[in-house]
Amino acid sequence: MYPAEFDYHRPESVSDAIKLLQENPEAKLLAGGHSLLPVMKLRLAQPSALVDISRISDLKGVREDGDTIVIGAMTTYSELMGSDVIKQKLPCLIDAADNVGDVQVRNMGTIGGACAHCDPASDFPAILLALESEIKSVGPNGERTQSSSEFFMDMFTPKLEPDEVVTEIRIPNVSNIAKATYIKFAHPASGYAIVGIGAVRTNDGNVQLSVTGSVPIAARLSAVESEISGKDLSDDNIKAAAEKATEGLDFVGDIHASDEYRAHLTKVYARRALESLK
């Protein structure tokens, strides 16, 4: 299967990439291509040009900025899994990455691409929401940093202009994280999340929970959070809080799992995620 005709550009810098996006309004950025190329091969997307930013070195790698961990947008899942900083300080991201697709997908897919794609079944949006991450982007009018809950706006729709490039994912207050986890009920064939839950307990007693897969776009489970935060993680408290996992959310259904089933699984996985925060 061949995609429709397009031009291919490989700029050396983010500012060149932005220029190319401005000159070609129908162009799209190419990161690992593991979400974009499959839809182009099916002709569900026909951009006029691809702007390959995957090799721009400023966009790669993991670094620490005080108490914030910064992940370059073009860091692949496998590069993330190989990072010593992540291994020591955010092992929950290794669990989440190890759950994505398969080895080959992890060798190509990038964290920035996963964020910008806003696939409702994508794993990283959930764990990044629970970690209260920020997403930094650069456009013709300069840079901005948004909270992940602003950024993950809707299904396949990030809060991003067409000529804006995601440059960094920033995870703040890392030393305040007591425990964090990502668990997932994967579709057995595709490996994508039917439901995935990211969960974080902070040293000051807050619990942050988020869901992906069962809802149109990854979202925080605010009702669960307010029920459990500040309380001890006893079995009874966890059970009561997890019961609230469906509050205020719309669930999606398809041939793989109905909306009721996904809503049910969301409660079950919220409970399991809370248990693993003990």
């Binding site: 397009f6 291509g33 390959d52 080895v103 080959q104 997908v105 060798n107 190509m108």
Partner: protein, 161 residues
């Protein structure tokens, strides 16, 4: 739009002119005539097209030839040296890790990636790391045994690859 790309495949440098939309798997098969890399599903699911791209296993049906400019690639044809099978190939031979053989090149390249990261994987690690490769006839039992065979052989003779 045409691009000149330079790619090193199994140690040989090739410079070619390719269309933007040419997929890497078609470049390897149709331009370089290295037909050991297979197209199974053409939708990133089956792993039959797995090659090593700068040392890492990737599905080249989901890549553009243009993305490979400057890359080092190894395909199944690059494994045997002077007619001697690589230990992973030997493993698939000895342990009956294939029947029709269609998935085998991809299975072997994915196993190569695995054994370079985890030289002595347990069964669970082998299965997890081969999740991106589907086999429709052998059943995975013998494929696991093939990788275990290779792992033993390779740790017995370090630097063998």
């Amino acid at each position: 739009m045409k691009h000149e790309i330079t790619v090193t495949v199994n140690g040989t440098k090739h410079t070619s002119e390719v269309d933007s939309r040419m997929l890497l798997v078609h470049y390897i098969r149709d331009v370089l005539n290295l037909t050991g890399t297979h197209v199974g599903c053409d939708t990133s699911q089956c792993g039959a097209c797995t090659i090593l791209f700068n040392g890492k296993a990737v599905k080249c049906c989901t890549m553009l030839a243009a993305q490979a400019d400057g890359a080092e690639i190894m395909t199944i044809e690059g494994l045997a040296k002077n007619g001697d099978l690589h230990p992973i190939q030997e493993g698939f031979w000895e342990e009956h890790g294939l029947q029709c053989g269609f998935c085998t090149p991809g299975m072997i390249m994915a196993s190569y990636d695995l054994l370079q990261r985890i030289p002595n994987p347990d069964e669970q690690q082998i299965r997890h790391n081969l999740e991106g490769n589907l086999c429709r006839c052998t059943g995975y039992q013998n494929i696991v045994k093939s990788v275990q065979f290779a792992s033993k052989k390779m740790s017995g003779a370090p630097g063998d690859d």
